[in-house]
Symmetry: C2
Subunit: 110 residues, 2 copies
């Protein structure tokens, strides 16, 4: 146990859950906003902008990268992180699709 029964669900549902999971921590939301506002980009700047240790930030960056939402380019000693446009848009569409499925309850339920 402790493991999600992923095989039991559709590929789409799993993908959406994966993107949602990436956003399921305030630090990761904050990191994404930092990247978008471009104050930061270099990992060190992100660390400076957050109340977390370098190792913890690095871990969150790793998860965002694993989810596909960001990518990191090595620039000498430093690493420049930024939004992965393609996957970002996919995630955006998945989320948008889910949320627009619901058209409001026309007094139907409950």
């Amino acid at each position: 146990m402790g493991t999600t029964k992923a095989e039991a669900f559709s590929v789409k549902d799993n993908k959406l859950a994966k993107y949602a999971k990436a956003l399921a921590h305030p630090a990761r939301v904050a990191i994404l906003k930092l990247l978008i506002n471009k104050q930061a980009c270099i990992c060190g700047d992100i660390v400076d902008g957050l109340p977390l240790s370098q190792s913890t930030v690095s871990q969150h960056l790793k998860e965002l990268k694993a989810a596909g939402l960001i990518k990191g380019d090595i620039e000498g000693v430093k690493v420049c992180y930024c939004i992965n446009e393609t996957e970002w848009n996919i995630a955006k569409n998945y989320m948008s699709d889910l949320f627009s499925l619901y058209k409001g309850l026309a007094g139907k339920c409950c």
Copy 2:
């Protein structure tokens, strides 16, 4: 540890993370879709529609309820679950706001 440093982040980021967390499991995504498509509504129907045990489904429903995305009305022995329209729309807007922050990289980064 193992606990998120929630106080260290903005209220908005925490809220978005909360909604995202609710969506961060394929079973919960599937439950929401079921509720929206209205095949189900009664808890038992949801259990029947998913490859998970009754207790596990009940737990997921509890989390969705805790996040505010759904509500449950007791109807005799049964419980009728449905989308919580107000919070659903808030979540939708939060997500939409985040995703539309990013306007695409105009060749700026990386």
